[in-house]
């Protein structure tokens, strides 16, 4: 299979020898389907999304720490949501909802796979383009429209929805009776979600086909870089998971607009009004949502794991320990992620026996995760680590992924989860694994791949200035949330007025200050991006001396990526003493003599 499909990529290259004619900006950026352009556009979209969501989180944290503070600028920004500058409870909940929705979908599902993947998948397999460029283009448009629809909820009279990114019905299904923001805002949110699902399915189809069909000569499945493996597994997960969310979103829209009752039973009295529904099940939404929702969080972390596994060896100057095992871990995590959704529902009213059937796979999924962490730590052993920013973020990833992942042991056990569910312990857990670890992987990927994407180096000094406060800062923000969780501090509260919560206010103030300071340091990252894109030092083809195929072409790559058909001779793990005068072998570098392998027996 490898030989004949690999040939097609080279045939395409051979056909397209004539340089493309100059195209005007509109055609290129709106209608053009060059995967590198689209990858950068996704990256830009994620950048806008993440800073929007960080701003929302600042407003939230300010309100939590000082609920009575008057913020005049907020009164101007949101006269309904913060009259006289004091935030209403419903506005807090709407900020929370949009913050979560943006972060999970438009940052963590977009940047690692749609962003970096669209740019680097064809490059890393030696292809000139994705299999379906039109799907790339369409996927990006739809994602943009989805983002626009989501943001539009801030500009309607009743505001954004208040039911969280999880949008449990009946709160999300009953319309205005259930509360402010639950009218048009919730409908637009659901519409935005549906559009996003469609875009992701298109992306997934594109990724799977490209990976299977467009590999260059010699790029067997076993030689695929770890990032390509994780993108592939993630794409399969997206293909299975997102249609389920789409179905749920459609059913929610029908309940809201067409009088159906998928999720709403009879006999509900909301705001003095007997609701006109019968026969629905709120738990049906929870099952559908979490059947998608749990794989979704692994869709967020798996490409991140791949990115770290790719970048760490490049800076350690030695191969990834147990590369094949790491790939197997990725596949295992992907497969197991579909068996665990009920751990979000231990106290939801399901038959308590089911808690045991979900707890066991949830605990089992820690096996591949723990193995992956140990392999990364083991890669550092005996390294000659170059502590560039990208490498530092790789090491920091390991730390925060361990911190976040270990707390999963608590939440995976139903009787302990009965205490910790819906407390700040959960908030700390998912922020560590998603909001920190996956983001650190995006940072690592950015510092690593920026030269290839933009042809210029990012400032290493600004990178270090960004890294150290960020690493300390995220621990200051999210570690205290575990303490709050043990104390029973409930989440999604606009304010803390319960007797037992008042003594915890100093912790909340600490977290708020940490969040503001750490968030401010992310502006350094933004500045570094902008300045470097315009004035950064010109990048060589392979500034990091890395092995994967993208580094064997120019920075940035030419329109069809490679000037000559690519032939692959080895996998991406060839770091370490080599008899070619350097300490690595590129994947497409033919061997003069046989390469001296640094691998001792056992590892691979």
């Amino acid at each position: 299979m490898t030989e004949d499909v690999a040939g097609s990529a080279n045939v395409l290259l051979a056909r397209e020898k004539t340089p493309r004619p100059a195209v005007n900006l509109l055609r290129r950026y709106l209608f053009g389907a060059d995967h590198k352009t689209i990858g950068k556009q996704y990256f830009l979209l994620s950048l806008v999304a993440v800073f929007t969501a960080i701003a929302l989180s600042w407003f939230m944290r300010l309100h939590l720490a000082w609920p009575m503070a008057r913020l005049p600028w907020l009164a101007k920004l949101a006269p309904n949501g913060a009259p006289s500058g004091i935030m209403t409870p419903e506005y807090y909940l709407s900020l929370l909802t949009i913050h979560g929705t943006i972060m999970v979908f438009f940052v963590l599902t977009t940047a690692p796979i749609a962003g970096f993947g669209t740019f680097f998948l064809p490059l890393q397999i030696g292809a000139p383009e994705m299999a379906f460029p039109a799907l790339s283009r369409l996927g990006f448009w739809i994602t943009c429209v989805s983002f626009g629809v989501l943001l539009s909820t801030f500009f309607i009279s009743d505001g954004p929805p208040i039911s969280g990114w999880t949008a449990y019905p009946p709160l999300s299904a009953l319309g205005t009776d259930a509360g402010p923001g639950e009218a048009l805002g919730q409908t637009l949110w659901t519409l935005s979600l549906g559009l996003f699902c469609i875009a992701q399915v298109l992306t997934a189809i594109n990724f799977i086909t490209t990976t299977l069909d467009l590999r260059a000569k010699g790029m067997t499945l076993a030689r695929l870089p770890i990032t390509v493996w994780t993108w592939f597994v993630t794409a399969v997960m997206m293909l299975i998971g997102f249609p389920v969310l789409l179905a749920a979103a459609l059913m929610l829209l029908l309940d809201r607009l067409a009088g159906t009752s998928f999720f709403v039973p009879a006999g509900l009295v909301v705001s003095d009004t007997l609701q006109n529904h019968a026969g629905g099940e709120p738990l049906l939404w929870q099952h559908l949502f979490w059947f998608f929702g749990h794989p979704e969080v692994y869709i967020a972390i798996l490409p991140a794991l791949g990115i770290i596994s790719l970048i760490l060896p490049a800076f350690a100057r030695k191969p990834l320990l147990g590369q094949r095992a790491m790939t197997v871990c990725g596949i295992a995590i992907g497969a197991l992620s579909f068996l665990v959704w009920g751990h979000h529902m231990f106290v939801s009213g399901m038959n308590p026996f089911s808690a045991m059937t979900f707890s066991l796979p949830t605990l089992i999924i820690t096996l591949p995760s723990a193995t992956a962490c140990l392999l990364l730590i083991g890669t550092l052993y005996g390294a000659k680590m170059r502590f560039k920013t990208a490498g530092l973020f790789c090491m920091a990833f390991i730390s925060v992924f361990v911190t976040g992942g270990l707390t999963g042991f608590f939440l995976a056990q139903p009787s302990i989860d009965a205490y910790l569910h819906a407390t700040y312990f959960v908030v700390g857990h998912f922020h560590f694994v998603m909001g920190v670890a996956a983001i650190f992987a995006i940072f690592a990927g950015t510092y690593f791949w920026f030269p290839k994407m933009f042809g210029r180096m990012m400032s290493e000094r600004l990178g270090q200035l960004h890294f150290w406060p960020t690493f300390l800062g995220v621990y200051c923000i999210f570690m205290p949330m575990y303490f709050l969780g043990f104390a029973g501090n409930v989440r999604r509260y606009a304010q803390f007025s319960d007797d037992y919560l008042l003594p915890l206010m100093p912790v909340h103030k600490f977290i708020t200050v940490a969040a503001l300071v750490t968030g401010a340091f992310q502006l350094l990252f933004l500045w570094n991006l902008i300045w470097s894109a315009v004035r950064g030092e010109r990048a060589a083809d392979n500034p990091w001396e890395a092995t994967t195929l993208e580094w064997s072409t120019t920075s940035p790559p030419a329109p069809r990526n490679f000037s000559a058909p690519v032939v692959v001779y080895r996998d991406a793990n060839a770091y370490g003493p080599a008899d070619n005068g350097r300490d690595f072998w590129a994947q497409s570098e033919p061997a003069g003599a046989s390469a001296v392998s640094v691998r001792t027996g056992g590892g691979e």
Partner: protein
């Protein structure tokens, strides 16, 4: 840089571990007969994960310190390669998984799969935006039927009882406080009026969602008197943060007096 990373990570790790170990912010004292088992499991999980936390973070810190670019020597592989490491991970984590699953199943069943007990006090609980209401069966020991269409908040008829025609409903006691006698098994039946809510008393180590359309039982036995907060943990609208009630655990004679005083209303 590597040394700085090592130092910073070590400081963070030790500081966090110390705070956890010292229980500076910790669970409030347990008041439930079944809670001690949950606390033991929590303590064991903290110990097990704490060990893994310290090991992984400190190893990472040490390697960051030791294996920088400018050290002497060439790159070397992990002793034994990846296989021993993978075997170790699978073994250690596997043992923890087996232990937690077996122990945890018993603890879970002891709280959430309790059979009915003789003499248990049945209390009906309704959650709505944004309050909890508790209903006692009254002297006849029977709960009146619920009619959502007859719910009238201005008349304190939160449950929708048909007071004119239903004799079982007339003596039902409706309260904003959950009063229970100490050391007596209690059965709560949870149902919401409007959207999803949840019942959480940290001291009881119990949390249970209210699901529209379902009536969900919760059983517990409180073994210490006092006043404890019941808070809502399922996002239910703008008043979610303010939705609370009190659990008053009293001596049996005090509880009887409370019932009588409420019946007079």
């Amino acid at each position: 840089m590597g040394k700085l990373f090592g130092i910073l990570l070590t400081a963070i790790t030790l500081a966090s571990a110390a705070i956890f170990a010292a229980h500076i912010w910790w669970m409030p004292a347990n008041i439930s007969a079944q809670g001690a088992a949950v606390d033991r499991l929590m303590r064991d999980t903290l110990a097990g994960t704490g060990l893994l936390f310290l090991t992984a973070q400190l190893l990472l810190a040490i390697f960051a310190w030791q294996f920088g670019e400018h050290r002497n020597g060439t790159v070397s592989n992990f002793p034994g390669g990846s296989k021993p490491l993978i075997a170790l991970a699978l073994l250690v984590v596997g043992i923890e998984i087996a232990a937690f699953t077996l122990l945890g199943a018993k603890v879970w069943a002891s709280v959430y799969m309790r059979p009915a007990e003789t003499g248990e006090l049945a209390i009906d609980v309704q959650a709505e935006q944004f309050a909890f209401y508790f209903r006692y069966a009254g002297p006849d020991g029977k709960f009146g039927a619920l009619h959502p269409a007859q719910i009238n908040e201005t008349n304190n008829n939160f449950f929708g009882l048909d007071l004119e025609n239903d004799p079982a409903a007339r003596d039902d006691i409706v309260s904003g406080t959950l009063a229970v006698p100490v050391n007596r098994p209690v059965l709560l039946t949870l149902h919401p009026q409007d959207v999803g809510h949840s019942f959480y008393v940290p001291e009881l180590r119990i949390q249970q969602d209210f699901v529209p359309g379902l009536i969900i039982p919760v059983r517990f036995t409180a073994v210490r008197t006092g006043r404890y907060e019941i808070v809502c943990t399922q996002l239910c609208g703008l008043g979610h943060y303010n939705m609370r009630a009190y659990l008053d655990v009293m001596q049996p004679d005090q509880f009887d007096g409370w019932l009588k005083a409420n019946q007079a209303k």
